[in-house]
Symmetry: C4
Subunit: 210 residues, 4 copies
């Protein structure tokens, strides 16, 4: 009984610290993205005009930066929604989330890869693989939390299915976006950014509809 | 009813985690600024005298660093004042704040741009655009929080207007500072730093005046 | 009596802030690891094929990155388990944990060293020394917390010994891994990664077995 | 009355968020220090022997890294001790602490400067100026908190004077260390590290000595 009590306390604090570690890693990853926006060298800029040109030339870096910030924002909201519904955590769940955070830290790399080789399909597919990995792990963590009864008792009945549906639809759309690279990587990127803006600006699923 | 209960809990934790993500991003952005203070190369320094000269030559980097630290400090205080008055958050508000954090992560870039091209108007205007973006989003987030009834019930009547007025006056002063670049970017920077020091050292609006 | 009260409060908050600092340092260290995954230069890549080759060439960096992420994940779980069982902290314990965090911040360096010189024994031994340091300090912090009665009253009797045993077994396995570099550093790395995956995927010691 | 209530709540959360921002900035600054430990280039290392030499050559970087980690650890403990004794914060106190955090973010720069020019007095004096700035602001923040009645009611009578004394003694010792550069910067560094180790390993002032 004492054991049980102790365990609950440990686990209860674990959700908080898992959230704290996650917020920290998201914060660092989201800020590191900007390091790819390299300031033009002083040698290359001699006038306002040169600087204007140099800034326009940063457009691919800026677009991939925006896209990755949206990606991380979407997955941060997704992860925190899950964590907010947890009554407690355990070691297995912690490790699923650490794997998720591994995929988060990969994002600055895959973003940089895409920014450098924006016209190459392999760079786009690597980026998409990163998004897919984030989605798959987040899906697995939710399934595990349900099976292991880690969610709060007052969780509305329809939330579990809604969370799963949301991830599946989003990943299907990202897969369509990735497939568009058969035509052109620009189409892929435009499609993915539109999907992301849709999730950010006009989220469809809400827990409080009524 | 269960749904309602669950929703409140989720939303309540969201303010905390939004605050945690924000603190993390501000912390990283404020610390990354220092990376622009490049240590002089060993090749260029052979004596105390050389090092003195090299450090004096860092003055533009140091001034833009100080200015950006003040900028981020001011907006951190501004954002936390808003978040402290919130009873709960929702997805839309979260996304407005994620957009705000996007502007925060842009600050090390626009600061570095200005530090490199301190005499070019375009660099100054890019920096000002960053400040403007921060102000506009923070203004929007407050308006949305009021409209969506997310603020605490015990919020004193005059606080909402005070918050709006504060942002508008500050942005008007920053715009004057930016306009001074028609004369000279040095005037702009001096004016903006003075405005910021005024807000940091002698803040005018207090919630607890009586 | 007042003094006692004040002290308890200070110490109580200290565990929280020690946890917050630790989460922050782990978050930054875990994300900085990715900076060693350098994006191939534009000059070296002219086709999908080149990019594929360049990405395969990143394999050593990727493996050391994964290994270090696992290392930090394991020690994060280990430290948080200890901190969760503490009722309060004091200055000495804080400094033991600051020493532990020093070893955490060394990890990106020793990882990068190993990634660059993956075939050299000295690089592997430096990496192992880092893991050893993490283990020794974590072991010392637990011993000190027990002796100084900082742990919670409801701590199950068998937990202290379990924590110590876990650290000792893990360190013994890491030492075996390090010793394998007498044959070949590849053997060492493979062995260490297997040990780590075992701890991450199939943790043996649980506090809640019954 | 409602105003008063609201204010207290805002201020109460402010201490927490000030602590969160501080922990974040300390975490980033402490981890960024390691970036000065540059991994030897692959071109310069062809054998175990070369790597050994290259690592020995990193000694100045390693010593300044250790010294700065100790510096930040000491000031983190110092700041958290103050924040733990606060019942509430206000804007002025927040800005004093933001100024303190500015000095914290300067540390990676002044450390790097000293690591590069370890034999130059100017580099040592710049490093000392950084420590002095940290001490002066922390001293000022405590004085302000006392004067503005922001400290907790149950603060033992002798704590305020103890905090001030501690800062003054430490700064006096650092000043002696800095003055030793008249002989040699090595003496200065050795003396400062010894002072720091003394504070870390054998802290003299405790709040709970009965």
């Amino acid at each position: 009984m004492t054991v049980k009590l102790s365990y609950n306390k440990v686990a209860g604090q674990s959700v908080e610290r898992l959230a704290a570690l996650s917020d920290g890693i998201f914060a660092v990853a989201m800020t590191l993205l900007v390091l790819d926006l390299r300031v033009p060298t002083i040698e290359a800029v001699h006038s306002e005009h040169d600087l204007g040109h140099a800034m326009v030339a940063l457009a691919p870096q800026f677009i991939t930066y925006l896209m990755s910030f949206l990606t991380l924002g979407i997955f941060w909201v997704g992860q925190q929604t899950q964590l907010n519904h947890l009554a407690r955590a355990n070691r297995d769940l912690s490790w699923i989330h650490i794997a998720f955070l591994f995929a988060v830290t990969l994002t600055p790399f895959s973003t940089s890869l895409l920014a450098h080789f924006i016209a190459l399909r392999l760079a786009l597919l690597a980026y998409w693989a990163n998004i897919l990995l984030l989605g798959v792990i987040l899906y697995a963590s939710w399934g595990y939390a349900i099976r292991a009864s880690l969610v709060k008792d007052d969780l509305p009945e329809d939330v579990p299915a809604a969370v799963c549906r949301r991830i599946k639809i989003a990943q299907a759309l990202y897969a369509v976006g990735a497939a568009l690279c058969l035509i052109n990587t620009t189409w892929s990127i435009a499609f993915i950014v539109l999907v992301q803006l849709n999730y950010a600006v006009a989220p469809r699923i809400r827990f409080s509809r009524r």
